[in-house]
Amino acid sequence: MGTLYIHELKRLMRTILLWSIIVGVFGILCIVMYKSMESEITGIADSFSSMGAFSDAFGLSTLSMATITGYFATEVGTIHGLGIGLFAATLATTILSKEEDLHTGEFLFSFPVSRTQIVTSKIFAVVSGLLIFTIICAALYEVGFLISGDSIDMELLIKFYGMQLVLGIEIASICFIISSMSRTNKLGMGMGVGLCFYFFDLMARVIPDFKDYIGFGPYSYANASEIFANGEVEIKYISIGIVFIILSVVSTYVIYNRKDLAS
């Protein structure tokens, strides 16, 4: 199983590095831009914080963009959240189906490894990919802080990265189901899952009445502005997230073990 895990991770590495560097460099640019905008940003922050539901949706009513913490949460937090969500969908939606899609299935399935072992190796490879993405991005953001000379409370940063990682795992776990059911590349569907969760969360924040119906997705507990404003995570939403992950992963194993494998 170790061989397959390493093989998968190697195959994913180029994608992992590409996504990590793009999102990480965006983060650096945002952090460095803060320094150059610092003098004008107070006025912008005041007007952004008084825009009612819009301010609530982006956390601008609780955090001031005039501080590096507030600026990081609203700017880098949004980019990182969307980045890890779409990246997770990209990896997970194709991880199982690509063997049948690219006709390498018969080569892989002819080895003495069970389908359970194949799924486990591939899930571990995706989770490792998300972890590497988080580490590279975090390291690049630190480079940004070093350049700008600013800093953010490390405990809050670790909490933010941790929640974003769980967010990535939750989106990936749902995309594993798509991957286990399909024989062709369903990347668009996986990306759609990630974007749906993001927009549902946005709508639930703009229209509070929607909160109970669509505001339970991964972006509900991994929202940067909430984490950086009060350092707390909503246990209710993260519990729902963990249940989602468990159910999705179990479903993936069941579906993949039962299906007929195409060549």
Binding site: R11, L102, F107, S110, F111, P112, K259, L261, S263
Partner: protein
Amino acid sequence: MDNIIEIKSLTKSYGKKRGVTDVNLEVKEGEIYGFLGPNGAGKSTTIRSMLGFLKFNEGSIKILGMDSVKNRNKILKEIGYMPSEAQFYQDMRVSEVIKFASDMRGVDCKEEAKRLCERLSVDTSKKIRELSLGNRKKVSIVCAMQHKPKLFIFDEPTSGLDPLVQSEFFELIHEYVKEGSTCLLSTHVLSEVKNHCEEVTIMKEGKVLVTDTVDNLTRNNAKRIRVTTDGKIQEYLYDGDINELLLKLQASRIEDLTIEEASIEDIFMHYYSKEN
């Protein structure tokens, strides 16, 4: 001799689409067994059910004395499988694919892999995406043979291979079989069955048409008749009483008559036309 493969009443359907129905097959230890039929006859479905890629609906499959569903991993350790589509990971080098295949089996096959690559002239430094179908097939042969399995399953192995490599490939099979391996050769090339197999099963539309030794099939009563009467040439297979045939032929003026043993090609076509 023990049966290495024992398939009983195998049925597999793809929803409304036909798969295979009531397939029975026995392959004895140490033989090269032909599995013959045109494309779509159900050969690959049978093989893919044997390897656990497909969940079959009815019947049982025993390989090396073990149940194919319960002991899939144990069985696959002892099998060298070459699929009809020799596809590998495009961005890997040939050497990496061969090493990956041996690592996945947890065995060190370096020496055997090197020997096979030399015999088949495989360039291990090339990337998979640079290879032609024939060269990919050669890599597939190395991956299937390098761990010296007890059972080979080849699904249309020679398509895309040049005649020299084909001959080397069959030479290798005979060498492994001499050392105790068994081989199931699925093909639609009749000459391969005739030249290399002892026994054969002919499939058609998901069902077994006939199972017999190649010798028996070619030595049965069926004769190839070529007769010229009144300037007309007629050619057909005849498996009835030869005296009755001669009586019938006497009714017209025979200019030329040839009666010869039917070839495997004739037998194959004979069974197909009979069914139709």
